[in-house]
């Protein structure tokens, strides 16, 4: 028996040793840069002999919170890493790609165990917010290395300045616009949405502001039932829609809708321990507008059941060719192949102006961030500078025939935007340079603070707002008290903030 117990003890010890032999733990306390590094970074003495791999500082690059996990994206990422490692002999950059579905859990576990990676991304606001408080303020390193931020639109640099500091630098940007189907406008005898933010719209021969009221009217006329009647005509059958005028394509969240229609706003007030929801009334009205658009007497948007129906694209509504307009960021160009192959064509128009007469844009953005617990932040920033700098962009975003680009998006660095636009022109031959200029113009109107701004207990508060929007999409007015549900959501948000 003694031997049996010995064997069991040995097994337990082996188990524990194996568990301990996983990723080496980094210091749990994030080393805050106590002093800003000197502006002129000291030159490193050139080694007489190339250092062995073991002498290099290892910097781990975690990919998985956003784009970058598809097998087709790996070669470019691997090439960027190999090129960087070959370009210098101080740092060994190591790529860690984790499937999207498990990336959050994996990263959270690594961070909780103090073994987080040094570089994380590309990641959007949503993915970043789940790890609020974990991001390194890059300001000291930007200053010490003389990283040139003037190449970016200042609004985009400012976009990444949060309470935590400069937590990112502009990298991939996805400004929003209105995608529309010209053929449907022609059929309805309507003018196309304007292509410039200053332009007016011509409705029934009169020049009017391109605002949400105008868009609503246009969308109603583009919403058609089985009998061919539009939503403004007598006898229109709202229960049998064949085509909708407007789609909030994959922008189905309280904050997205409100940012577009009412404009960006700080939605949390107070200090730690006493946070409260501060969603303005204009946000409530914006969501009410969406609800009426779906369930009102003259609907012009698809309800949840309709948008989820196979005939309407199983959620990818505009791609099904059954929506005349779709409001969504540039990344939606990912998912229009069926639309194109079915012979449809789209163009782009600017977003309507809000009640204040100003355009309220939205810019989704992916960047690569640094973990504040990194034991080697200087080296991590150096590697990051490479990835988001010209060489990295060439490999990761522009690509070559042999190694295609890993990421699809408009580079924030204007010098590299044209290759991406060329790719879109090739993919959607019916578009022109002017089509994509509409999106570029949207960069001047980012939603700052972002619709995906941080809220306390972000995962849960974001999910609560999502639940509210899901309710709007799926519940007809006779079964929903909008005001009561809104108040309940605000109450729940305050409870969530207080947790």
């Amino acid at each position: 028996m003694k031997k049996i117990l010995s064997v069991l003890s040995l097994l337990i010890v082996v188990t524990m040793i194996l568990a301990a032999c996983t990723t080496p733990a980094a210091p749990t306390d994030a080393p805050e840069p106590t002093d800003a590094p000197a502006t002129d970074a000291p030159e490193t003495a050139e080694p007489t002999e190339p250092p062995a791999s073991g002498d290099k500082v290892q910097i781990r690059w975690f990919v998985g919170l956003g784009t970058g996990t598809d097998p087709a994206q790996l070669p470019a990422q691997e090439k960027a890493v190999a090129d960087f490692n070959a370009s210098q002999d101080e740092i060994e950059l190591v790529l860690e790609v984790v499937p999207y579905d498990s990336a959050r859990d994996t990263l959270a576990t690594q961070i909780a165990s103090g073994a987080g990676p040094d570089i994380i991304g590309p990641v959007g606001w949503g993915g970043s917010n789940a790890f609020y408080g974990q991001w390194l303020d890059m300001t000291p390193y930007i200053e010490s290395t003389g990283f040139d931020t003037s190449i970016y639109d200042p609004a985009l640099v400012e976009f990444y300045q949060t309470e935590e500091g400069q937590v990112g630098l502009p990298y991939l940007v996805f400004p929003a616009a209105i995608y529309y189907v010209p053929a449907m406008f022609d059929e309805a005898g309507l003018e196309y949405p304007p292509a410039n933010y200053e332009d007016k719209y011509v409705l029934d021969g009169e020049e009017v502001d391109w605002n949400w009221e105008t868009l609503t009217e246009v969308a109603k006329r583009l919403t058609v039932d089985v009998n061919g009647a539009n939503a403004t005509e007598a006898g229109f059958d709202a229960t049998q829609l064949q085509q909708v005028g407007f789609a909030n394509q994959w922008q189905t969240h309280v904050a997205y809708q409100a940012s577009y229609v009412a404009g960006a706003a700080d939605i949390v007030e107070g200090d730690e321990g006493a946070y409260e929801s501060a969603m303005p009334d204009s946000w409530k009205e914006a969501n009410k507008w969406v609800y009426d658009g779906m369930w009102g007497e003259q609907p012009f948007m698809a309800t949840g059941p309709l948008a989820g129906a196979p005939e309407f694209g199983n959620g990818n509504l505009f791609n099904s060719g059954k929506a005349a307009m779709a409001m969504t960021p540039l990344w939606y160009t990912c998912c229009l192949d069926q639309f194109r192959d079915a012979g449809f064509e789209f163009q782009a128009g600017v977003l309507p102006v809000g009640a204040d007469g100003q355009p309220h844009g939205r810019v989704d953005a992916d960047t690569i961030r640094l973990w504040k617990g990194s034991a080697n932040p200087e080296e991590a920033f150096k590697a990051l500078s490479y990835l988001i700098g010209p060489e990295g962009i060439e490999t990761l975003i522009v690509g070559t025939e042999e190694v295609p680009a890993a990421y699809s998006g408009l580079p924030a660095n204007p010098e590299y935007q044209q290759p991406y636009v060329d790719g879109l022109l090739k993919r959607y031959p019916f578009t022109t340079a002017e089509t994509w200029d509409v999106f570029k113009a949207g960069l001047a109107y980012p939603d700052n603070p972002s619709a995906e701004q941080w809220q306390p207990n972000w995962n849960e508060s974001w999910a609560r707002q999502q639940t509210f929007f899901d309710l709007l999409q799926n519940t007809p007015p006779d079964q929903l008290d909008f005001d009561a549900e809104w108040d309940k959501m605000v109450e729940d948000l305050n409870d969530i903030y207080a947790k």
Binding site: T15, A309, N474
Partner: protein, 343 residues
């Protein structure tokens, strides 16, 4: 059952008995241990240690997104206290419908009360039909009823979701176009509002029927195991069909029903997939589809609140254990084991 457990414990060898084993037996035991060691290793690493870890989690404040910024603290029974006061979890029955929202435990139990009879009696009824001597091509029908069980359940749920789409689904189209039901009167199925939550649960039950093939097969095996001489004796005694079923068939297959009932109850407490896919796991409408296990999943994986998620999991375990013990206790009153004499 407790008596059986007690007997089993007494039959276990003591340490002394191991020492007194003959050399051959000791060697065999040693070899057996080596053969078992991979399983023991896996059990320790992948089952026992995680189970213990989750129990420890319930007494600390591990919220994984807090990461390095939040040191771990021993919080005693604070997580259990929070759970008791959590209206949405609904572990405390007095919190059900506080603020108009049903507790997750209420949702689970209410749905269970609807789904359980269907999940037990429908497969039993089909099995009885399948076992009927007058049925032509029984194997064909058995395969037909079992076939849906082979289809992955997620795929089936998507399929049903399409069929039951309130605006474009085939079922509502049939109601409107063939049966001429008015558009305003057709059910919204899973998209029904909070006041019509019964429709939602009915929809879920309907989707669940898709997977009764396995239960039907087990019932059928039980039915085929009933000795035919019992039926002959009942016939001689002048029993009619109902009496034969109730006095002969049911007692003889009661262990099989008991088995299915136990699994169904455990499965219902862990009900998760359908509301996650059909109603996007949001609990829409008004929390009526926020099942306990879904709530647990959201806290654990979506909100990454590991301590609270673990607390929910342990409380669920305790509830399931209590219900199962109750069920085993009740078995002596209605489950008949022909081969045993029960005290």
């Amino acid at each position: 059952m407790f008596e059986q457990l007690s007997n089993f414990r007494n039959s276990l060898p003591s340490l002394r008995s191991f020492r007194n084993l003959p050399p051959l037996a000791r060697r065999e035991l040693k070899q057996a241990t080596w053969f078992l060691s991979p399983w023991l290793f896996g059990f320790l690493v992948f089952t026992l240690i995680p189970i213990i870890a989750t129990l420890v989690f319930t007494f600390i404040n591990l919220k994984i997104t807090d990461g390095v910024s939040s040191p771990l603290k021993w919080v005693g029974f604070s997580n259990y206290q929070t759970l008791w006061n959590d209206n949405q979890a609904g572990v405390n029955p007095s919190s059900w419908f506080r603020g108009g929202t049903p507790g997750a435990l209420w949702v689970t139990i209410a749905f269970g009360l609807i789904a359980l009879p269907v999940g037990i009696f429908l497969p039993l009824g089909i099995a009885v039909l399948m076992n009927n001597k007058h049925l032509k091509a029984p194997n064909f029908f058995r395969s037909l009823f079992y076939m849906p069980y082979i289809v992955p359940f997620v795929a089936a749920v998507f399929l049903w979701g399409g069929m039951l789409n309130s605006q474009t689904g085939w079922i509502n189209r049939f109601l409107i176009e063939v049966l001429h039901v008015s558009r305003d009167s057709v059910p919204m199925w899973a998209n029904s509002g909070a006041e019509e939550w019964g429709w939602i649960y009915g929809t879920y039950v309907m989707m669940g029927i898709w997977g009764i093939g396995n239960a039907m097969l087990i019932m059928l095996a039980g039915l085929q195991g009933v000795p035919t001489e019992l039926y002959d004796a009942a016939k001689v005694d002048g029993a009619n069909s109902w009496q034969t079923f109730w006095k002969v068939t049911f007692p003889m297959i009661s262990p099989v029903i008991f088995y299915n009932l136990t699994l169904s109850i455990v499965g219902l407490f862990q009900y998760f997939l359908v509301p996650l896919v059909v109603n996007q796991g949001t609990g829409r409408p008004g929390g009526f589809t926020m099942f306990y296990n879904l709530y647990l999943y959201r806290n654990f994986f979506q909100f990454q609140n590991m301590s609270y998620g673990a607390t929910l999991a342990w409380v669920l375990f305790i509830i399931i254990l209590a219900v199962t013990i109750l069920l085993f206790w009740s078995a002596k009153y209605w489950v008949y084991y022909a081969s045993e004499t029960r005290s």
